[in-house]
């Protein structure tokens, strides 16, 4: 059983993310390069790893891929998709899509985004269910550097992801215009829903320096 995780609160997750970045930097690597092997090779339309990442004590699954024509996403190299289990993870759960993380050509996270249900399939969970499942997954300790980076990104942006999912649901309801949501979920004209840009340096700074200054101020 995993011990209490330092990765769940955004500030602790930010510290963990910085630590993982420093370790990857020393290895001249980044999250995507960690996946692709040496020499790094990637093919459009393939998932990396082929058997998916299973982490957070298997409460989380993810993979990375790049879209091929006619579905390339402008301005990105590829993206991670994250999934959370519906039900007991040990009893063949269904996997619900949480969000995707867009990566640029230099391996830097640039945006969170959500997609319509037909894009990923699986059950469609609302914001509260996904946030609760994510919170549970974030209590687990990472086993690899890549897992640390992924868990830290999810933990650091957990509040933002909750807002993103709320926006996703609002976007979908707005798009429905009275249609049953089940039909809207399968509407091929609706692909990407809510998005949120990532400003990693600023976000890390806000989380990592603010607590320090507050602490210093209290000690004065």
């Amino acid at each position: 059983m995993a011990s209490t995780s330092p990765y769940a609160p955004p500030v602790a997750a930010a510290a963990s993310l910085l630590q993982s970045l420093q370790a990857m930097g020393e290895a001249r690597s980044n999250a995507v390069l960690e996946l692709l092997g040496d020499p790094p090779v990637i093919q459009q339309g393939q998932r990396y790893p082929a058997d998916k990442l299973r982490f957070g004590a298997d409460w989380l699954r993810a993979y990375y891929h790049c879209h091929a024509e006619p579905w390339p996403r402008e301005g990105e190299h590829g993206h991670f998709h994250f999934f959370l289990p519906l039900g007991d993870k040990d009893k063949q759960p269904q996997w619900a899509h949480l969000a995707a993380l867009s990566i640029n050509d230099e391996g830097q996270p640039q945006r969170w985004f959500t997609v319509n249900n037909w894009v990923t399939g699986g059950p469609w969970l609302g914001r509260q269910d996904l946030s609760a499942a994510l919170t549970r997954a974030l209590t687990q300790r990472p086993q690899t550097l890549l897992e640390q980076w992924l868990l830290a990104m999810l933990g650091m942006y957990a509040p933002d992801l909750a807002s993103l999912l709320q926006q996703r649901d609002q976007d979908l309801h707005r798009a429905a215009q009275g249609q049953p949501l089940g039909e809207v979920h399968q509407d091929r004209d609706i692909y990407t829903l809510a998005t949120q840009d990532i400003h990693l340096a600023t976000d890390l700074q806000n989380l990592l320096t603010a607590p320090t200054t507050k602490r210093e101020a209290i000690n004065c």
């Binding site: 990637i42 082929a50 990566i103 699986g122 340096a201 320096t209």
Partner: protein, 96 residues
Amino acid sequence: MSEHRLKRQQSKLIMGSAIGLATILVAIDHTRHSLPTPEPAAISDSTGEEEMPCGLDSESPCGMDAETPCGLDAPCSMDSESPCGMGEDETPCGLD
């Protein structure tokens, strides 16, 4: 608050922020590495406008065609723990 204490606090605030930002920027910069250009997808038998990337369907499990181009599981995926069908009507926990 005395002027001395205020200056000391401001000094700590500035120092803390400067160190933090420099450390962060260096750490991020050291992970900036060009990713390999994606190679074209393997040619699959299925063609046409319905094609989507990262296919997961039974006709081309790793090909270009799929009903759910970014799904986690697929009928012919390598995941034996993929009980959830990807059928279009399945939204067991949907909002409707």
